[in-house]
Amino acid sequence: MAAETASVPATSAPAETERLRLAKAAIRRGKLRTRWLLLSPALLTIVLVGLLPLSIILVYSFLEPGTYGGVRWVFSTDAYVQFLFERDLFEDTLTFNPAYLEIFWRSVELALLSTVGSLLIGFPTAYFIATRPPSRRNLWLFLITLPFWTNLLIRTFAMMLILRDEGVINIILMKLGLIDQPLVLIYTDGAVFLGLVYSYLPFMVLPIYAALEKLDFRLVEAAYDLYATRGKVLRHVILPVAKPGLVAGCILVFVPGLGAYITPELLGGGKSLMIGNMIAIQFGNSRNWPFGSAASLILMAIVLVALLVYVRYAGRRRGHG
């Protein structure tokens, strides 16, 4: 329409280009519509079944628990109060109770420790792989990736077989005559730590490898030429290049470790609860959905902080190499 009102009638060229521009815009709009149409099944499914439930959890955390699971539609902040305080049923007074706080703290601690543990093994491994010739590199990557695709439950079960009282470690140590009584390995925080490292180690290796793959070894050579030691090369040349991968790897180990359910359930026994188990219990036997919802939200908040750290330190593009 605007093409007809073109102010210069002398040549038709500007009008033509204007018309062309409009036509192109129309085509682009059509394409855009098609693209949203193509996206809609996936997006709708995820929004309705993946994101909508999170808002339900938010609402539920401010309600009262139902008698047989579920919720009663009465506003209440008890779920959050319950975190720190215990309500005395007779006197209706609140006393400070750190039990849940301790579970959260233990979870954060275990997740952090397992992140450090994976880092100590994962970084040298990733560096070693990145310095192999390309043909060997692929094999190594395959071997590191494969456990990630095998069932986590089964891998944790395999860890049980190693750590049990009559497990492989104890049997070997007793055969060697080093111990008479089996060591208590399983159902401890240590077992959960080992299980978490074992579970998420590939998550640490892969992103660090991806970062190190870009390392230009001429820089390393230059550093050695300038009399750097191996330690200095590691600290001043290799680590800065690896940093985005290091941060990504740490997040990828920390986040699932924090919300872990299977590992503490099988290796931690009843005494070493983590947040994940506590949430599951609230939706199962003890049936306090609002409290479970509140715990889920607090867990999500911690994860969000971790993700923000990631965006802050790894997401940003760096000006120089």
């Binding site: 339900i56 070693f128 439950l153 077989l161 699932p256 359930e265 999500m300």
Partner: protein, 282 residues
């Protein structure tokens, strides 16, 4: 252990008895890498070895036997659970791969559009939220729907699986599409093929490896899921991992090892196929 580090300096240039200086070497790193492989594979190896143990004890070796495989394959509970797993896995794989294919077509090989970052965030959302939170939140949603409509069934479980399978199906399809260039499709269009013909004869066959890879990953992820299934599955909807999870908590027998070995084998075969199939295509 033999020194496996790459020698980057030319041989012969250095005096004998001294190893040539290796630029890429860092002390102790190769040992740690081999240790890493050992840590990743030793437990699985133990699991597999003892699945062939005749003894009832899980970790006391007596003699080789296939009895636990026989017992596992004849176990009615395991058979039913495997059927449920296959059904849920098949539906979740088909639906999620279809949705992911459409989404990948919409998000690649085009100019960027507004909201694209948000779209990626939404698609990858199942990967960013702790699984236990997704599990209880989905449980809450489904409980609410069931309460309002009275409709039950295994469809809920399939739907829940479909959601977390989408990002896994999406990634390889998207990667494949980004690797493809537009020349063949443009050539076909120049030769008067209709858009539908171009898509069916050119685009679809070219993106097929990505779709197959996506479907395989989606199936593996669905087949392995524990936490979400544990929360969402109703009675009579016990999948294989849930069944063996129950066995592990009640007290383990080598039968658990046997089933576990079979499941590991399935994943390994699928992923290995995918890996080497993908390599040859490049």
């Amino acid at each position: 252990m033999a020194d496996r580090t790459l020698q980057t300096t030319a041989p012969g240039g250095k005096p004998a008895g001294r190893r040539p200086f290796d630029l890429k070497r860092q002390t102790g790193f190769s040992e740690i890498a081999w240790f890493c492989l050992f840590v990743l594979y030793a437990p699985i190896a133990v699991l597999i070895v003892f699945s062939f143990n005749d003894n009832r004890s899980v970790t006391l070796w007596t003699e080789f036997s296939l009895r636990w495989y026989r017992s596992a394959l004849n176990n009615q509970g395991i058979q039913n659970a495997a059927m449920i797993s296959l059904q849920v896995g098949a539906v979740a794989t088909l639906v999620s791969t279809f949705f992911a294919t459409l989404a990948a077509l919409a998000t690649t090989r085009n100019e960027r559009f507004r909201g694209e970052g948000l779209v990626y965030a939404v698609i990858n959302q199942p990967l960013m939220i702790p699984e236990i939170v997704t599990a209880v939140a989905t449980l809450a949603l489904f409980a609410l729907i069931k309460q309002l409509t009275g409709v039950g069934g295994i469809g809920y479980l399939m739907l829940a699986h479909t959601v977390f399978c989408i990002p896994f199906a999406y990634m390889p399809i998207r990667a494949r599409l980004e690797d493809m260039n537009l020349t063949l499709e443009q050539a076909a269009a120049d030769l008067y093929a209709t858009p539908l013909q171009v898509f069916r004869r050119i685009t679809l066959p070219l993106m097929m490896p990505g779709i197959v890879a996506g479907a395989m990953l989606a199936f593996v992820v669905s087949f392995d899921d524990v936490i979400i299934t544990l929360m969402v599955a109703g009675p009579g909807e016990t999948t294989l991992p849930i069944y063996i999870f129950g066995q592990m908590r009640r007290g383990i027998t080598p039968e658990t090892n046997a089933v576990s070995t079979l499941i590991v084998l399935l994943s390994v075969v699928l992923v290995a196929l995918l890996f080497f199939f993908g390599k040859r295509r490049r």
